[in-house]
Symmetry: C2
DNA sequence: TTGTATGCGTTATCAC
DNA sequence: GTGATAACGCATACAA
């Protein structure tokens, strides 16, 4: 076996297999006709020589892209610092690998989604995964990008979306609280303009209404810091509270920290729940009762759909299930 | 301004600017001569038409790659599930974005690093960032990849590396423990075959020796679960222990959890420290005293070096500084 | 079913 | 300084 210094090309394979490049191309690309005999000789030659298709050349010829762009919308580039973004990128990078593609990460200013035009003009973009999109951002998606962009979170008629079932998860959590005897249940929400937060809040309100209980919400922002402040506010406004639903695990952790600091027993006096089931939710004291958020699965689905050309339903939802631990 | 349905190519720009494609290419690629006049007309035409270079075509012509591959070595593909990997990929994706490139994530079986040959034959690979590499893996790096691969962690004569200053961080932590009066200091280590763990352990042993104190180590594996077990072991073997150094924050958190469960006050009876300064280290009770681990900076440096062609010193080290909180 | 020829968008070589 | 022109590696009408 001769090891050349230069990676083998399709021409090398064709020559070695005794066929034309077009035939080799057909069998290796899995498109078009080829006799079993030819097919066999080509594949044999390919893996004997260690052939790896050149993605660049292939993309150039086919007009396809070479990378998936993860676009995190937000007020500032700081949105990229959210660990959640990294998890999405990580999952996307895994679906890209076998395709010879890669993932790029960009910030998209919510106020000025004009950068989308630039993406549309970039032939290297094989797909786009939108994060934290708003209606404004969704409307700014150029026609040229249609079918190649998928949003995680809110969607639109033009942009399919995939997300966790926030409503279902919230129902599971609130239902658990109710089932365990809690009746004065407050919620620390997320920013009102975030859809994922909105769905949870709506589900909470609906359940409370159906149970004939008053809805008590305090606005937060997904952070533990804000959770602490919110806890104090809840205690002040409703001293008789016996449960707090956090919009996220971080929020819940902040709430718990403040509550205990104020001498309130958790879950003795007040039960607290989170949402996301982050790794550390299991390690805190008390361990956090929460609902799952399969970020990797969601991101994988989004990336796959974006690269597949968007032939996907308008909304794909992943279930969230209750994780019962100690805090509630 | 006419908006064509097809993204503009270099030919379009050249025509619009009244020059040849060669000239347009030179000024846009920033290589070669061009008169100020021509340069001006070309750049003007380019951003008037919203020109974006086709990375695939460029890569094909230049022979450069289209993506950066993050390769996480390990016994099983489960290594990819470590949040640390996602952080590296996220940072790498950010450095790739402005270059029109992307990041792919792959698992590299430590036992069988043969997949490296395949990467070497792949023209799409512009660079490789190695994670959790071992000497065996490093030795398997093909010559063809030299200069395009950078390792985060251990390095070799052929493969430059970049990492946090484990020794320095450990010294800072142990020094703090000593300065605050602790004398019976135990350490929960990582797997002995992991270099980053080794450097911390070595630093710990050296400091203990220099202080005339006995080194007391228990092996762990970076996880909280193992930290719990290790805490029990420490307590059993050295009932008089007054401090435990965790190899990681997760480990330390596990240690603390077990200690408190056993009625040991932290930091009253036993001080506990971690390493990494993960986001939640600040939120636990008690808040964790630890040392920083600038993963994003490290990954950014590694990705940049890998894509730049590896002209970088054999070892770049990022400082780790003490973060003093409550647990020690 | 197979092969020939052409195009994909850029860069680089080399005359001018 | 500038402009033709030949690669770069692959896919695909189209002809055979």
């Amino acid at each position: 076996m001769t090891v050349s210094d230069r990676p083998p090309t399709l021409a090398d394979i064709a020559r070695d297999a005794g066929v034309s490049v077009s035939t080799a191309s057909r069998v290796l690309a899995g498109t078009g006709y080829a006799s079993p005999a030819a097919r066999g000789r080509v594949t044999a030659a390919a893996d004997r020589l260690g052939y790896v298709p050149d993605v660049a050349a292939r993309a150039l010829a086919r007009g396809s892209g070479v990378r998936l762009v993860v676009l995190a919308a937000g007020a500032s580039a700081a949105v990229l610092d959210d660990p959640y973004v990294d998890r999405v990128v990580g999952a996307a990078a895994r679906v890209c690998a076998p395709l010879g593609m890669g993932v790029a990460l960009n910030w998209l200013p919510s106020r000025n989604p004009g950068d989308l035009r630039r993406l549309a003009a970039d032939r290297g973009v094989g797909g786009v995964v939108l994060l934290n999109a708003t209606a404004r951002v969704l409307d700014a998606v150029p026609t040229a990008l249609r079918g190649r962009v998928v949003s995680i979170g809110i969607g639109s008629p033009q942009v399919p979306s995939v997300d966790v079932d926030n409503a279902g998860g919230t129902e599971a959590v609130v239902g658990h609280l109710y089932a365990t005897g809690r009746r004065r249940i407050a919620m620390v929400t997320g920013p009102h303009w975030m859809p994922c937060s909105g769905r949870s809040v709506t589900a909470y309100r609906r359940m409370m209404r159906e149970a004939g209980l008053p809805a008590r919400t305090v606005s937060g922002d997904f952070t533990a810091r804000r959770g602490r402040v919110a806890a104090r506010e809840v205690l002040t406004r409703w001293p008789d509270v016996d449960a707090v639903v956090g919009i996220s695990d971080a929020t819940a952790l902040g709430v718990i920290d403040r509550l205990r600091g104020d001498g309130v027993q958790v879950p003795g006096d007040v039960a607290v729940t989170g949402f996301d089931d982050i790794p550390l939710a299991a390690m805190t004291t008390p361990a956090l009762t929460t609902a799952t958020h399969p970020v990797a699965e969601i991101a994988t689905a989004a990336a796959t759909a974006a690269l597949a050309g968007g032939r996907v339903g308008p909304l794909t939802t992943f279930p969230s299930r209750l994780v019962r631990r100690v805090s509630a």
